[in-house]
């Protein structure tokens, strides 16, 4: 990042290659639109380019990038709430091409509280440490720890019915997709 701040275009290209996919994944898991996820990923890098002169190496580049990404995501959500009709302002529709298991996980995650969900996703998908999550979300590390534990326990309980059905299907030797459907309705 410092190399890029000094004017090295190659440094930015390396930064872009390294973080493009993780940032896209960050937005893709939180938004329903592939295009918007792609756009916001680009917006994140554009914000980095624009703010290069003000950058100070106080934290990891990763933390810096996810900090920008979270702000863009919050702005995007505010915009959606303003623009969308009241009926559609709730949960986003599911992805059509999602696999069953991933679908279950996603549904379970959506049942978590917003704060706990964000911490869990930053930990599991973005692989941020407790301290990095605390810095990005501007909350104490102990809060991160306790909320992460609660969210994992809650997610486990949400996934349990599916686990039982899934295990039963595995035991019967068939991948019965129909068995998942009632549980989905419960969610």
């Amino acid at each position: 990042m410092l190399e890029f701040q000094r004017g090295s275009r190659e440094a930015f290209e390396e930064l872009f290659e390294r973080y493009r996919e993780p940032l896209y994944g960050f937005f893709r898991r939180r938004l329903n639109s592939t295009e918007r996820a792609e756009d916001l990923t680009q917006e994140t890098f554009l914000a980095v380019i624009r703010a290069t002169s003000r950058y100070e190496p106080q934290a990891l580049v990763r933390t810096y990038l996810y900090g920008i990404a979270l702000k863009l995501l919050a702005a995007e959500r505010r915009k959606r709430i303003r623009n969308a009709p009241p009926a559609q302002s709730g949960a986003e529709p599911l992805v059509d091409d999602a696999q069953d298991d991933a679908l279950w996980v996603r549904q379970a995650i959506e049942r978590l509280g917003a704060a706990e969900r964000e911490i869990l996703m930053l930990r599991e998908y973005e692989q941020l440490s407790y301290a990095e999550i605390a810095e990005v979300l501007r909350i104490p590390v102990n809060t991160v720890r306790s909320r992460l534990f609660r969210s994992r326990m809650a997610l486990k309980s949400f996934l349990e019915p599916e686990v039982k059905l899934h295990d039963a299907a595995a035991a019967s030797g068939t991948a019965d997709c129909e068995a998942v459907t009632p549980a989905e309705d419960e969610v």
Binding site: G7, E38, I109, K156
Partner: protein
């Protein structure tokens, strides 16, 4: 899971699995996990949740160069080039020793040329006649070339430079005349002289100093007169006279009285002036470039404001350097002459001794004063030490009386 059954918290198990514990607690957690089935189950649950979450994967974004980002990078590079054109980035790079830009090399070249010119002038100055002779020698020669005035620094010949002092502050119209005609052969000298005189006609000489000053188109920088008892009066004056009038002014001042001491100094400021001119020219160029940039700018408001801020800073520097240049030119144009005029002290002789009556009266007054002084001293002593004396007297009175009586009895 009860808290009192387990030496570590459940959250610690999670932190251990996430690699967030330090060495000590991590070892404790590992040891506990080996023997506790309940905590092992918790660890397995937590790992299971993580593994389940990993199943939610997203497809990779389309690869390739993104035009928006490429365009933003190009814009940024253009802005950086503009900034270095303004000199800001170049100066930052110089200070940070980050990279060498063509502008840095240009500045270094200008500095080298100025240094070489200064060194050449310095060597010429050393070979030239004494600075004090400049008014009678080279200057008269140069004054004949006065109509060849030009702006800035022009090379007259291989050895001579003409310095234009242009718009200098005027004092009684004199400075303008000198500024128009003064072209120094090579060197600019700030001249300072001091004369200490002793005179018997203090009042007349003071008036004469003012006349001399008026005749030579000078002015008083500072003047003070002191009149202490027991010695003669002293006049301290700082006079500013045109540099070419310094010798004649001093010659006339010497006639006012006996010269106790005299000194002259000359300070070479050519290099300083040339440096100042060069820096001023650079600053003006920078200001012009910034103004052009501002005129042509179609960028953001923030960019415009930053350019305006830079223009303000450069303008401030130009004004400061112009003031410095004027001050320097004034010091060269007008020599500083310190004059100390001391009056010969004549002690007054007392011809008549005091009368007898006066002496009696003085003696009576002194006697009365002495008596009053004595009484006051005794009273002050008693006030200061009386209480302590009384205390000790009271304490010692009876023991002393007993001892005294025994001593008197024993012989009997």
């Amino acid at each position: 899971m009860q808290r009192n059954c387990h030496p570590i918290e459940r959250e610690d198990i999670m932190a251990y699995l996430d690699g967030e514990l330090t060495a000590g607690p991590a070892a404790a957690a590992a040891a506990h996990l080996e023997g506790c089935q309940e905590c092992l189950r918790l660890a397995a649950d937590l790992q299971s949740v993580s593994q389940r979450m990993i199943t939610w994967q997203v497809a990779s974004p389309a690869s390739g160069v993104i035009p928006r980002i490429a365009a933003a990078l190009d814009d940024r590079e253009r802005v950086r080039e503009k900034a270095s054109t303004l000199g800001r980035r170049a100066w930052r790079d110089i200070l940070g020793m980050r990279r060498w830009s063509p502008y840095v090399i240009s500045f270094a070249s200008i500095g080298l040329v100025v240094l070489l010119v200064s060194m050449t002038r310095l060597s010429l100055y050393r070979e030239a006649p004494h600075p004090m002779d400049i008014s009678s020698g080279p200057r008269s020669q140069v004054q004949s070339q006065a109509p060849t005035r030009s702006s800035g620094i022009d090379k007259l010949s291989s050895d001579n430079y003409v310095l234009d002092f242009g718009n200098r502050a005027t004092v009684g119209g004199v400075a303008q005349k000198i500024g128009d005609s003064l072209e120094i052969n090579g060197s600019m000298i700030v001249r300072t002289a001091q004369v200490i005189l002793t005179t018997t006609e203090f009042d007349k000489d003071r008036a004469r100093i003012e006349e001399i000053l008026k005749r030579h188109r000078g002015y008083v920088g500072e003047l003070s007169v002191s009149n202490p008892s027991g010695t003669g009066r002293t006049l301290n004056a700082t006079l500013r006279v045109p540099a070419d009038q310094l010798e004649s002014t001093m010659a006339e001042l010497r006639k006012l009285g006996r010269v106790a001491s005299e000194s002259q100094t000359g300070e070479e400021v050519t290099q300083q002036y040339v440096d100042l001119e060069a820096r001023l020219a650079n600053a003006r160029n920078t200001e012009k470039r910034l103004t052009d940039l501002l005129r042509q700018s179609t960028g953001k408001l923030a960019d415009v404001l930053s350019v305006e801020l830079e223009i303000g800073r450069v303008r401030g520097e130009i004004e400061r350097m112009e003031a410095e240049r004027k001050s320097l030119a004034n010091r060269v144009d007008f020599a500083t002459l310190n004059v100390v005029l001391t009056e010969d002290y004549r002690a007054q002789l007392q011809m008549m001794p005091p009368s007898t009556t006066t002496r009696f009266r003085n003696a009576a007054v002194e006697g009365f004063s002495t008596m009053v002084e004595g009484i006051v001293s005794v009273v002050l002593f008693l006030i200061s030490y009386g209480p302590s004396l009384l205390l000790w007297g009271a304490l010692l009175f009876f023991p002393v009386r007993v001892v005294w009586r025994r001593l008197r009895r024993d012989p009997a």
